[in-house]
């Protein structure tokens, strides 16, 4: 399990990294935390001739509060940075709650938000969090910058909207509405393993508790994280109670579930129904003291 021969280039600016990306084309891969790419290289599932190491690009670091209440997270921010950030805990409690579920602390020390989003593993937490929070991804290429909604970015297993000459530079997370409800719940074979099923959700509510809008996202079940629009529609307009949540569950969307040697599609769909109901109960304060 030794990687094939390769050269490592270490740009110090986004512009330099992009020029290297254009120069080396499909011979090159970007590497940030390396927590997914390094095992792929060690098993020789990929053998790029060039690695463009982003770790020296200071401009990609940092978690920045914006005056409008939103937050911009640099692509090179480690999972551990998000987990320990007071700003994230205050403005993005859903992310703070989810971070301990991302692999193990050693992996979180290296893995980055940009790397996780670009890799787009179907069981990864960060794509789901971005969907549930209505995030926008900032991408740069020699052609310029563009912003892509998370909803448009994830397209399948390891498949995204990112063009070959683009890199993710930042993630924009809009300000939460006052009184926003949220929940995160996940089930894996062991703590830190790839999720067999997880739910991340946010719900905007009126002062009297009526749901004005909801983003309910499932991950780990199908090819990529996805919203559950029919379940969302069944919740919006209600003032949730345990009974009303149960009554909404038959509206749960038909999802095409994956099957592998860890979990059959039947099991993943059972988990989806159970965890979606539990996540909604958790979000609206009906704790049934079972987790996940």
């Amino acid at each position: 399990m030794k990687p094939a021969p390769l050269d490592i280039l270490a740009p110090t600016s986004v512009a330099h990294a992009l020029s290297l990306l254009v120069e080396h084309g499909d011979q090159a891969r970007l590497i940030a935390g390396g927590q997914s790419l390094m095992p792929i290289l060690a098993m020789r599932l990929a053998a790029p001739a060039i690695l463009i190491d982003l770790n020296g690009i200071g401009a990609l670091r940092g978690i920045h509060a914006q005056a409008d209440g939103s937050v911009i997270i640099g692509a090179l921010s480690r999972h551990r940075d998000l987990e320990r950030s007071d700003l994230v805990a205050e403005r993005l409690p859903l992310i703070a709650a989810a971070m301990p579920w991302v692999a193990h602390v050693q992996i979180r020390n290296r893995g980055t938000i940009g790397g996780s989003l670009a890799h787009a593993d179907p069981a990864a937490e960060l794509p789901a969090l971005c969907l549930a929070l209505g995030a926008t991804l900032e991408l740069h290429s020699p052609r310029g910058a563009r912003h892509v909604a998370a909803a448009d970015f994830f397209q399948g297993v390891f498949a995204t909207e990112r063009a070959d000459d683009e890199m993710i530079t930042a993630v924009h997370l809009p300000a939460a509405s006052p009184g926003q409800r949220w929940a995160f719940i996940e089930l894996a074979r062991r703590h830190g393993d790839f999720a067999l099923c997880g739910i991340a959700l946010t719900a905007d509510c009126s002062p009297i508790g009526q749901v004005l809008g909801a983003r309910i996202v499932v991950f780990g079940v199908s090819d990529c994280a996805q919203r559950l629009p029919q379940l969302e529609a069944a919740i919006v307009g209600t003032t949730p109670t345990p009974t009303s949540i149960d009554q909404a569950m038959p509206a749960l969307d038909q999802v095409e579930a994956r099957s592998d040697h860890h979990a059959s599609s039947e099991y993943r769909l059972e988990l989806l129904a159970t965890l979606a109901r539990r996540a909604l109960r958790q979000a609206f304060g009906f704790d049934e003291r079972i987790a996940p």
């Binding site: 860890h262 039947e266 099991y267 059972e270």
Partner: protein, 755 residues
Amino acid sequence: MNAPDRTGLGNAFEATASGTLTGAPIERVEDERFLTGAGCFTDDVRFEGMVHAAILRSSHAHARIRGIDCSAARALPGVLLVATAAEIGHAHKPIPIRLAPLPGLDRFLQPTIAADEVRYVGEPVAIVVATSRYIAEDALDLIETDYEELPAVTGIEQSIAGAALVHASVGTNVATQYPVGRGDAEQAFASAPYTRRERFRCHRHTGAPMETRGLVAEWNGSLMRVWGATKVPFFNRGLLASMFDLPETAVDMIETDIGGGFGIRGEFYPEDFLVPWASMQLGRPVKWIEDRREHLMAANHARETECELEIAMDHDGTIRGLRGRAMADLGAYVRTGGGVAISRLAQYLPGPYRITDFACEVMAVITNKTPVGTFRGPGRYEANFFRERLLDLACADLGLDPVAVREKNLIAKHEMPWPIGRLVPTEGEGAYDVGDFHSGLHKALAAIGYERLPRGGTRIDGWLHGVGVACFVESSGGGKSENARIIARTDGSFDIYSGVSTMGQGHETVFAQIAGDELGVPLDAFRVHHGSTAHVDYGWGTFHSRAIVVGGSAVKLAAAQLREQLDALAATGHVGAPAEDIEVKLRYDTRGPTYSYGTHVAHVAVDPETARVKVLAYVALEDVGRVMNPLLAHGQAVGGAVQGIGATFLDELRYDEAGQLLSGSYADYLMATSTEVPAVQAVLLEESPSPSNPLGAKGAGEGGIVATGGALANAVGDALAGYRLPLTTLPLSLDNLARALRQARAAGNAPQAGH
């Protein structure tokens, strides 16, 4: 540093209240070098001019080799050697069986390298040696193999059916088949008021030690030295010497520190020939370190068995008889471990119960999967799960209390020694030597607080609680003899040499404790040397929990002889250390195996909606005769239980129908971590010292794992009592348990109040 207080023993101290070293929870003398990074593991062995090997392995489960083109690999700068069966020629011989050579097995021996056909994914096809492991792996990518695929056999039933043969020239996939038994099972079943038959399955998994295999071989023109030996270095020396037509004295096997053995590490594998052979060709030291992917596809697998088992009972729970059919999937070849696991499985099906009428048809079959070997508690873990689960199913049928039924049927203390008959064809009649099985059961229940535990599906905060019990007995202390050599040095210190090897258990500490008590000198007077073929004339190695029972007894008797000589010297008026070295050499022969026994109790909670299981408490109780060092013995028991908890829920080597391994990395082969296991409570009893050896010791290395599958399956079954799940298949993975719950709901067996 202070010992962790997880054992409840308090911090380590230097001697027992009576002043003996044995029996005291003394910290391992090995720990300092392990914890400070000063250990010397195989990969730490480095020599001037050393080069690196990598193995090309079959990517097919079954294929004919039409051609191998190594020219591009040989042309790569830095590559020194590329060899296939063609280059190795006459030196390429089959690897013989070391243990349990059941009739028929020797037709399926593994060659050291595949010549015409490959029979499992991972089988060695070529060896490359280069100036670095990186270049060696680059060269593997350049070897062009031309395979003609053949049909793959991947299951026991498919193998027995024989439509496709793994070894066409043998004409069958059935490697061995024989009946064993005692009494008259047919008669017992004919007259029994209640019988129940189930088909059980235990999954393929393995020991997966933290340190993978590896070795460094150096040929200097007259002597072959191999670093990285463990388990059975003397046997492996003899085998390697015979493969090279060398005298045994021309081969030295040298033990390094070892990061775990668990039965799979240290057996003679193809690489144990290929790497020394390469060193001989090149005249340079060659290192090979197995990577984790290789380890999971090439080192021994274990445990994959199926068993149709039927119990006959009276309505009061008295067992009248047991009969069945046990089948093992041996993989593509029969390796050194021969038929150990399947023969022990059949032997231990009746377990610690008074079952006078027993019959079992034993069968082992060949498939296109990685060959199997022994893994901690071989055959015992599987047999214990089959029998203990069947007992609980019978109790549920009859409305009987599982604890009361076990009490009723356990062999009583006064019935010892209890003859078990001849249940292994390669052995004679056997008998459980001594034991109080009832005491073990009662003390295990008391340790977990059985009476107070919520069980039977009691719901607390959404979780259903259950408790499971499993009783076991298992043999240890095999391998007929062991050598010990002790030298009293002129500076007052002592060197102890033993023929056993060590994988991290702490023999350096315990042998010094044993000798220290005989000689009346403190622990730090001893240096303990083990496992290398240069130390003693012969050694039988470390397996079957024999190191203390046999090796420790040899050390004790040698130390006693040395004490006599030193006393005689003192009687002449000599004071202090001897003027010249005094040496005692001794061979100790065993009087047969010892039998450890005990009970495991598990308390679990199950979320019936997600199939998630939490192990809340676990007691592993074992009577090991005499405890030499409670700290280390507890470590063995806790480690075994943790490994068994992981095995029961997580570890699984999965193949697809084409024979491709699906769990070839630690992302797919899941082992228990600290988040999956509770604080295991190990209880060690010394109520029944073994009469078979001077220490009174019984094996302490394997009892921690033996009853885990049975106790946990029974606990989950108890928690989900309302669903009446058979739970006849391991592992109890989320997916398997969810399927069982789905089937129960579909059959209308689910209790009301769905969540």
